[in-house]
Amino acid sequence: MRPSARRNTGFIREIDPRAAFPAGIPWLRRGYRLATTLLVAALLTASVGAPAAVPSASVTITVHGADGRPVPGAVITVRSLAADARPSAPIKAVMDQINRAFDPDLLIIPVGSSVDFPNSDTVSHQIYSFSAAKRFTLPLYRGNPNPPVRFDQAGIVTLGCNIHDEMVGYLVVTDAQYFGRTDATGSWTADIARGKYRVSVWHPRMNDDANDLERELTVSAGDRVTHELRLTKPLRPAPLSPHPHSWDGY
């Protein structure tokens, strides 16, 4: 993992110990949590170490909406244009289902990564995607009976539940070297090795064509680069809060 992943709040939630074992085995959950913490620490240490030898610059990318306001939660990917560039190493991630919602509702994962889809609800879910980047279905289930799903093709994967229409989740499968989501101020910062890159932005509620927003970025060692991306169209409205009881059965 690259240092940029530390700013990817989605990733921090990816390895979720709640999902791996049922609530009835607390000692196992504690043990798993410790192991997971060590694994995350090891991953982050390794990733901090790897690019440190390459001269880099601190790059901040900010995203503003058509109204000039910052856009939190936008997905930023920074892909090297070098011929020998390789995508980030695959990871193992978890997207849970809690209170009839995907949790987290968006994950950014490198190509080749695997994602576990446990169901922590008391009702069954039936997960599907008909997105071009990955078509798959998970049969009706509770708990975590299914093996992880591997994502080998870059693109946006939209997830739904065949039982509960209100459930929508997103996986951004990327071959970029650096990626993350903008914070509350619409900014994302990463230490990026020098070179030429293509910067892309995407948001689940974006009306702009993502191709129109792509920009080239040249990073020189030691720079502090600030790059601004501005959407040309307003975002779609955010989904309504979930209703307190299960509605819309009719």
């Binding site: 739904g160 955010a238 209703h243 009881h245």
Partner: protein, 406 residues
């Protein structure tokens, strides 16, 4: 109370044995004060579920719902209720159907239902058990649907899920073929529109014309002809739902059941409605229904054109929901009645409700309802009471338990 014990026992058994079964048991008790006439459900001509004679503590509803998956793509849904009244069966089904739901493919999704279920008309009855999350009592329009309409047959639905493919809206088409509904329309012609939350059960009986008829089964086949409906629904994100539906039960209005003497009512209508929701908790619903129900005994034709509409405004603040609704409705006649009128009923109603769900198990509700009606039947029975204003204030305490309760 036997039915209560039976339902609770069934729920406990299900909890222990049916891992793959989603289930829910709800108990809804009511405390009310009504100045209404004896309810039409109780052999009177009142428009409310409870008349003055029933003020006090009542069992609003005891409900058991089961969803059982069969393999990957099929499931069975059963919804049974005890309404605490004097119907033939203490517990009976309001819905029972088999659902086929293949996985969506390329943005298209299909659903097929077979059994007994509600047509997709109401925009307020969106909660479990076809209840409204805004008021205790549904609108006059949807009260009639709960009382006399149930699709007993086959329904197909196909949806284009645009919002899953980067678009702003979804569109769905629905069509159905059904039977066992020829009596649908008799209550409307006899008494007109009512305001109550009791849903007629599949084997239950109603008494549309007290003193003139015996109670009869609403869902009954008389002429062997199948009815149809077709509808369209469009959804803009999760903010706006617009529905329209054309219903025609294709009954032969000259036919009459030989045993019960119940007529086959030819009932046709158009319905349309919209529901708009905002991010700050506001909901607005407008719904409209217009049609006619007809019988033709002995080469005569008795037609009852009807029209009902309502507007509901609701505001949700956390777990508190405040709602207000205005109903307007009328049932006319294409002939002059015995009382010299050319209407069966018309009226209007105001409903104000407050609902509070402190957690997923409990719901407390308080509702005030004021309905004014003018009824030809009431005038025939009680000439001094042709015009009636009925009011009630009703509190509800509901506890829900089960795997489907979050």
């Amino acid at each position: 109370m036997k039915s209560l014990a039976a339902l609770l026992a069934a729920g406990v058994c299900l909890a222990s044995i049916a891992h793959a079964t989603d289930w829910e048991v709800d108990l809804d008790m009511r405390l009310l004060s009504s100045d209404g006439q004896r309810s039409y459900l109780d052999g009177g001509t009142g428009s409310l579920r409870y008349g003055q004679n029933q003020s006090g503590l009542q069992l609003g509803r005891l409900r058991l719902a089961l969803d059982q998956n069969i393999g990957e793509l099929w499931s069975v849904h059963l919804d049974a209720s005890d309404w605490g009244d004097h119907d033939k069966n203490p517990i009976d089904l309001t819905e029972a159907y088999l659902l086929f739901r293949p996985y969506p493919f390329d943005g298209l999704r299909a659903r097929v239902k077979a059994g007994a279920f509600y047509a997709p008309i109401s925009l307020e009855n969106r909660g479990p058990g076809w209840e409204s999350p805004y008021t205790l009592t549904p609108s006059a329009l949807n009260t009639w649907i709960g009382e006399e309409l149930r699709t007993i047959g086959l329904e197909g639905q196909i949806d284009w899920l645009g919002t899953r493919t980067g678009h702003l809206f979804d569109v769905g088409l629905t069509g159905a073929v059904y039977g066992w509904n020829e009596p649908a329309g008799v209550a409307l012609a006899s008494q007109g529109f009512m305001l109550d939350d009791r849903q007629t059960t599949l084997f239950g009986r109603v008494n549309p014309t007290p003193g003139l008829d015996d109670p009869h089964e609403v869902f009954h086949e008389i002429d062997g002809r199948k009815g149809v409906y077709a509808g369209i629904e469009a959804r803009f994100l999760d903010r706006l739902v617009v529905r329209a539906l054309r219903y025609d039960n294709r009954s032969d209005p000259t036919q009459q059941d030989r045993a019960t003497h119940t007529f086959a009512w030819l009932t046709t209508f158009n319905s349309a409605g919209a529901r708009l929701e905002s991010a700050n908790g506001w909901t607005g619903i407008a719904q409209w229904l217009q049609g006619e129900t007809t019988i033709s005994p002995h080469h005569l034709r008795f037609g009852y054109p009807f029209d009902a509409k309502f507007l509901l405004i609701s505001k949700q603040i956390g777990r508190h929901t405040f709602s207000a609704r205005y109903d307007r409705f009328e049932v006319l006649t294409n002939f002059v009645t015995a009382t010299g009128d050319n209407y069966a009923q018309y009226g209007h109603a105001w409903t104000i409700a407050y609902l509070f769900e402190p957690n997923t198990h409990w719901r407390f509700a308080l509702e005030w309802l004021d309905v004014s009606t003018e009824s030809a039947l009431r005038e025939a029975i009680l000439p001094s009471a042709e015009v009636s204003r009925e009011r009630k204030i009703e509190a509800s305490f509901r506890y829900a338990l089960g795997s489907e309760v979050r």
